[in-house]
Amino acid sequence: AMLRASLRQVSAALKEGRVTPTELCQRCLALIKSTKFLNAYITVAEETALKQAEESEERYKRGQPLGILDGIPIAVKDNFNTAGIETTCASNMLKGYISPYNATVVQKLLDQGAVLLGKTNLDEFAMGSGSTDGVFGPVRNPWSYSKQYKEKSVPKSHSEDEESNWVITGGSSGGSAAAVSSFTCFAALGSDTGGSTRNPAAHCGVVGLKPTYGLISRHGLIPLVNSMDVPGILTRCVDDAAVLLGSLAGHDPKDSTTIQDDFKPFELPNLTDVSKLSIGIPKEYHAPGLSSEILALWSKAADLFKNAGAKVVEVSLPHTPYSIVCYHVLCTAEVASNMARFDGLEYGHRSDMKDSTESMYAATRREGFNDVVRGRILSGNYFLLRQNYEKYFVKAQKVRRLIANDFVKVFRSGVDILLTPTTLSDAAPYTEFIQEDNRTRSAQDDILTQAANMAGLPAINVPTALSERGLPVGLQFIGRSFQEKQLLTVAKWFEKQVQFPVIQLEEVKRHDSDVYQHQKSASFS
C-alpha cells in the first residue's frame, strides 16, 4: 500500500529500490486526477514534478540520495511563492502571477530532492476557516466520500446523494489537508495564522503542526499577519511531521524574524513512561458551542494520560475568551497594511482604468479582491484611524500581552504540555457552513486555535477518533516556545494510544494495487 504509507516508510522503500521516484510520482499524479472532485489542487505541476522525480531516480541509482525527502511527492499551499509556477492565493488579484522566486521553505524542500506536485487550494489570501472562499471554489473533505461517513449518513431522499452531503475541510489550508488525507502526497505545507493548519488537519484526520513563531522562515509566504503567520506542516503521522520540521527549521537571513539559535533536527523517542509529564487542561477551552462528543473525547484523553501515570491538572488561561476579539483587531490592522502592496503596478491583476493612479489602484483592488478581503481591509483601516488607534489597535496589543502572559504563568507553574480540543465540532456540511458569513465562522472556528498564534507557541493537532457521523475529530497539544521535541514526543505517544482509523476511499484502493490492510480494531471512540 505504497500511497498509504507514511513518509518515512516510503522513503525507506525508495532507498531499497522497492519503488522508484518516477513510479511514485506518476501514481500520485494519477490519483490527483481521479480525485479532482475534491478540488484540493489549484495547479498541478505535472511536467516539473516528473522531471524532479527523474532527477531523484538518477541519484538513487548512483546511491547518492540527498536525504530522507529525496523523491518524496509533496504539495504546497498556494500562498507560498514557487518559482515558475503560478501562485494565486486563490484570488483574482494574483491569477496568472508566476513567482520569480521560491519561498525559503519551498527551496529547502527542493534542495533535499522533494518532488513538488502542485499548489493547493485555500480561502482567498488565507482568510477563512472553511477553504470555501477562494476564486477556484471550495475544497471538499475527502472523508465526505469515505466508507465511514457514507455508512453513517442517512440520505434525505432518493435524489440526494453525496453531491449535496459533502463536508468542508476547514481552513484556510484545506487543500493541503485534503491532499495529505486523500494520499495524493506524503506531506504538505500550509500556513497558520489563527489555526489555519490545525483546523483543517482536525477535520481531515491528519496531523497538523504549527511551529513556534520564529522557528521556520516566512520568506516567500505571502503575509497575512506578520507577527503571527507561520508555515504549517501537514502529514499523516507525527514522526513524518518531525522529519519535515527537521528539514525546514532554522535561521534564514532573508527573514529577520527567524531566531538565530542553532536548530538541531531530531528523531522522536518512543516514550513509554509518562509519569514525569504534567498535562494542563485549560478550563476556558470548554468553550460555548463545544460539542458534547468532543468534550467527552477530551475528557477521555485526559484520563488516558492520568491512567498512564502522568500528572493531569486543570489550569486557567483567563483571557482566552478575548483572544478572538484581539485577533480580529490585530489581524485586520495588519491585513490593511499587507494588502496595500496589491495595486496592479508591478504584478498581479491590473485594471484598465487609466484616469489616475489612485483610480487605477482603486479599480484594480475592486476587481481583484473578494468581499472577505475587502471587508478586512476596511475594518483594519478603521481601527488604525488616528481617532481609533489607541482605543482599538494599541488596546488589542495590550490584551495580546495578557494572553501571552497567561501561558507563561501556566508553563512556569510546572505544566509541560496543554491538552485542548482543536475544533468545536466535526466538519460541517458545505450547505450548512455557508449560511453564516466568513467573519462569523472564523470567529467561531478559530476560538480554540487562535491563542497559540497570539503567544507564538507551538501547537499540534493529532487525529483522535471518528465522530458519530463518521468524521475525524482531533485534539490539540500546545507546548512551550521552541520545545517542539517535547511537544511532538507527547503527541506521538498519544497517537500510538488512540490508533486513529485509516480513511477508506474507493479511489485510493484502485490506485494502490497492494492488498489493503485493515487497521487494528482497537480504536479510541
Binding site: 520569480p100 538565530q260 475592486r366 483601516n381 488596546k395 496589543q397
Partner: protein, 108 residues
C-alpha cells in the same frame, strides 16, 4: 452608534477599496461592535506587545550587496512597462469627491 458617511468615505480613500453595497457597510458596523468587547478587559499598566520575540535581538546582516541584477524577472509580471520602467497613469489626481464619483455611499 453608526459610522458617519464622512468616515466611510475617508476609509474608502485610505484603503482604495470600496464598500460596494449596504452589506459592506453593515460588515464594518458588525466588526466594530465585535471589537468593542476589548474594552471589557482591564489593561492598566500593561505594555502593548508588538512581537512575541521582543526579548531577542533582531538579526541584522552586513550591508553588503549579495543579490540583484534581476530587472528582467521583476518586469515580467508587470502589465504596463516601458523599457525598465513600470508605467502608471497620471498621479497627483485625487479620487473624485463623493458627489462626483460612482460609489454606493452616494445614496446615504
Amino acid at each position: 452608534q453608526k459610522v458617519s458617511v464622512e468616515v466611510l468615505e475617508h476609509l474608502e480613500h485610505l484603503a482604495l477599496v470600496d464598500f460596494r453595497d449596504a452589506e459592506g457597510v453593515e460588515r464594518l458596523q458588525k466588526a466594530i461592535q465585535f471589537a468593542d468587547q476589548l474594552h471589557e478587559v482591564n489593561t492598566d499598566g500593561v505594555e502593548p506587545m508588538d512581537s512575541v520575540l521582543e526579548d531577542r535581538c533582531l538579526y541584522l546582516r552586513e550591508d553588503d550587496v549579495t543579490e540583484g541584477n534581476c530587472t528582467k524577472e521583476l518586469l515580467e509580471n508587470a502589465r504596463e512597462k516601458v523599457e525598465e520602467y513600470f508605467v502608471a497613469p497620471p498621479g497627483n489626481i485625487p479620487l473624485p469627491k463623493l458627489e462626483e464619483r460612482e460609489t454606493f455611499l452616494q445614496g446615504s
